[in-house]
Amino acid sequence: MTAREAILRDIRHNLGRGASLVAPVPPAARLNVPKVSISDRIELMLDRVIALAGRAVRVKSGADAVEYVAGVTGGRRSIASNSEFLREAGITALPGVASGVTDAEQLRGLCATADFGITSADYALADTGSLVMFASPADARLISLLPPVHIAVVPANRLLSGLDEFYTLVPKPADRTSSTVFITGPSRTADIEQLLIRGVHGPGEIHVVVVG
């Protein structure tokens, strides 16, 4: 008998029954999606990111976003994701920005040496100030993780009220990607004497640019 079989056997024995033939029905998932206007979402999102010591701005157009990003990076080494939205806005054309990378080794090298990682986001959760990022051909994991500064440029219509709305829209993130990450503020630790330090392993500085 394999370990797996022994474990299943013991579970059933200790629960006092045999194997179930029918799928058990869990309590209904508790998802309450509040009605929040777009403008309230934007305000809440910016508010929350700033409260987490991130930077957050709202701009009207892609061109404004480009201006903001250029102001932050100042032409220094940046790695941008392959997001269509970033390309259309013109962000990937900025000086110092490498993008269009599809090779893992090359990407890792660029991420390890870049000063800025620039991405979009698939969604954002306004009530916690979180970015939702799926790993995909358009978005590699390490871009929002290795460089010390992360800049996320997000269209306003991707802002959700919160977790409950996300899980209502996307009940099974695993169907579309191997990695879903919620990013809520800059990396931090308070491990020693409860003193808060930012940028331990992940980016110590994040910028959220909401477009629209």
Binding site: I7, P26, L142
Partner: protein, 462 residues
């Protein structure tokens, strides 16, 4: 000779610096939590707890089903599932993968389950380097000691401890500035993330309908450990299962808030298999190691089964007046605080931890803050009864048993009881046994001149 429970407690109580450290840290965690679960901040907090308890109860009662569903979905996404009966088997699985991959270096993110199995020790024994990447855990590893708290492993250390440690272990100049210490660790660990052959993580939740593991963290080291190396191995107890990704809507709202007062931790990762075709980066291999390690045993008692609902938030530790005095290292096993007090006897046997269920005043603060509503005091009482039953069978602790028998004998004979009380209050009490224990900390209670019964008799006749 290893220290006894009582000795460890006495040492901790006598260390005033440590007492202050524990108190300050837990105080902060208490007030941060309070702020975000208040009626204003989270009006449906109590309903969320009820839901979380119900979902966990359902899952635990159908653990076999959800285990198989989880496995199917992991395989579907191109991952592997390994089931381990005992703690030792976990290292065997990891070593086999490492051997096949020719791996030499492993980077690890925080996992209490891997502490249970002493994973790092086993790996090092076989010539593998396994580095803890969480800042606090990295420090603990360099110190060759155990985490002090589920969520705050280095709670007991000062910046000076860390400065001395880094000077000793890393050969860097002695620097007590925490920000600099962080930068040092970041520099060392960055290399490890990028060079490691394997990344090992824990899992806060295992999602059955998705074949996914959920990891919450603040530093980014779990993301790095699970994204940079070519192999990701997630180690988790079988009780971490929940049925659906949608259930995270409930659990994520409770976990961060209960643990540190954060509505969400900085990073919440939901990882379902190795990188998919088209994805640029991510691991090529994805393994989930499921550990029984005695958890199936806990299923047997319906009254204590809820011990398995724990989501490892640490709130019970923070609010426990006993933990706040005796600290994490007084406990004999990896889990400390109230949850440790109920898990340890169930895992190692009540006969091997007979004092633990009694190291509580049953104040109930833990049950009040537990996000999944585990009735810890109830389980402590059950364990106490089990200890006494075992003692009766083994003829142990006969003096105490005789005392309680005498108590019960008199308490059902009111005339004898009244006479004994009348007698007792006049006699001098010898300062031995429990009386000596009382006197070690307090004065004896001063009895009024007349007993209640005497006064009552007077009052009635007047």
């Amino acid at each position: 000779m290893p220290e006894t429970f009582d000795q460890k407690i006495a040492t901790t109580l006598a260390d005033s610096r440590l007492q202050t450290a524990i108190y300050t840290a837990t105080n902060r965690l208490i007030s941060h939590r309070k702020a975000v679960v208040s009626a204003d901040a989270l009006p449906d907090y109590q309903e969320l707890r009820t839901q979380a308890n119900a979902v966990k109860a359902h899952t635990i009662e159908n653990l076999d089903w959800y285990l198989e569903e989880f496995e199917r979905n992991v395989l579907d996404h191109g991952g592997h599932v390994h089931c381990c009966r005992s703690a030792a088997d976990v290292a065997d699985v990891v070593l086999e993968i490492a051997k096949r991959r020719g791996a030499r270096m492993i980077v690890k993110s925080k996992s209490m389950t891997t502490e249970e199995v002493d994973l790092n020790e086993r790996l090092e024994h076989h010539g593998l380097q396994s580095v803890e990447s969480d800042f606090g855990e990295y420090i603990i590893q360099l110190m060759h000691t155990r985490p002090y708290h589920i969520v705050a492993p280095a709670l007991h250390l000062t910046r000076y401890d860390v400065a001395d440690l880094f000077e000793r272990a890393l050969g860097v100049p002695n620097d007590p500035v925490i920000e600099n210490q962080c930068r040092t660790a970041r520099g060392v660990l960055r290399e490890k993330f990028l060079e490691a052959d394997i990344g090992i993580s824990g899992a806060n939740f295992l999602i059955a309908d998705s074949g996914a593991v959920t990891i919450v963290e603040n530093e980014g080291n779990a993301r790095l450990s699970t994204s940079a190396p070519k192999v990701h191995i997630a180690v988790a107890g079988i009780e971490k299962l929940i049925p659906r990704a949608q259930d995270l809507g409930t659990f994520l709202k409770l976990l961060g808030r209960s643990a540190t007062g954060q509505p969400l931790t900085v990073y919440t990762s939901f990882l379902a298999g190795p990188k998919r075709s088209g994805e640029v980066d991510g691991p090529e291999e994805f393994h989930v190691v499921l550990l029984d390690g005695g958890r199936t045993k806990l299923l047997a008692d319906p009254e204590k089964r809820e011990s398995l609902y724990c989501i490892r938030c640490g709130a019970c530790l923070n609010h426990c007046p006993v933990y706040r005095k005796i600290g994490g290292h007084s406990f004999p096993w990896v889990y400390s605080g109230p949850i440790g007090a109920i898990l340890t006897p169930q895992f190692v046997g009540v006969e091997n931890a007979p004092q633990l269920p009694f190291a509580s005043s049953l104040c109930g603060a833990c049950a009040e803050v537990c996000p999944v509503k585990i009735d810890i005091p109830k389980i402590l009482l059950e364990l106490r009864a089990e200890v006494k039953t075992a003692e009766k069978q083994n003829g142990e602790n006969q003096l105490e048993r005789a005392a309680f028998s005498a108590f019960a004998y008199m308490a059902v004979r009111p005339k004898l009881w009244a006479r004994a009380l009348g007698f007792g209050r006049k006699l001098p009490i010898p300062p031995v046994g429990p009386v000596a224990a009382w006197l070690s900390e307090r004065e004896m209670p001063k009895l009024p001149a007349k007993s209640f019964r005497e006064l009552w008799k007077q009052r009635k006749s007047a």
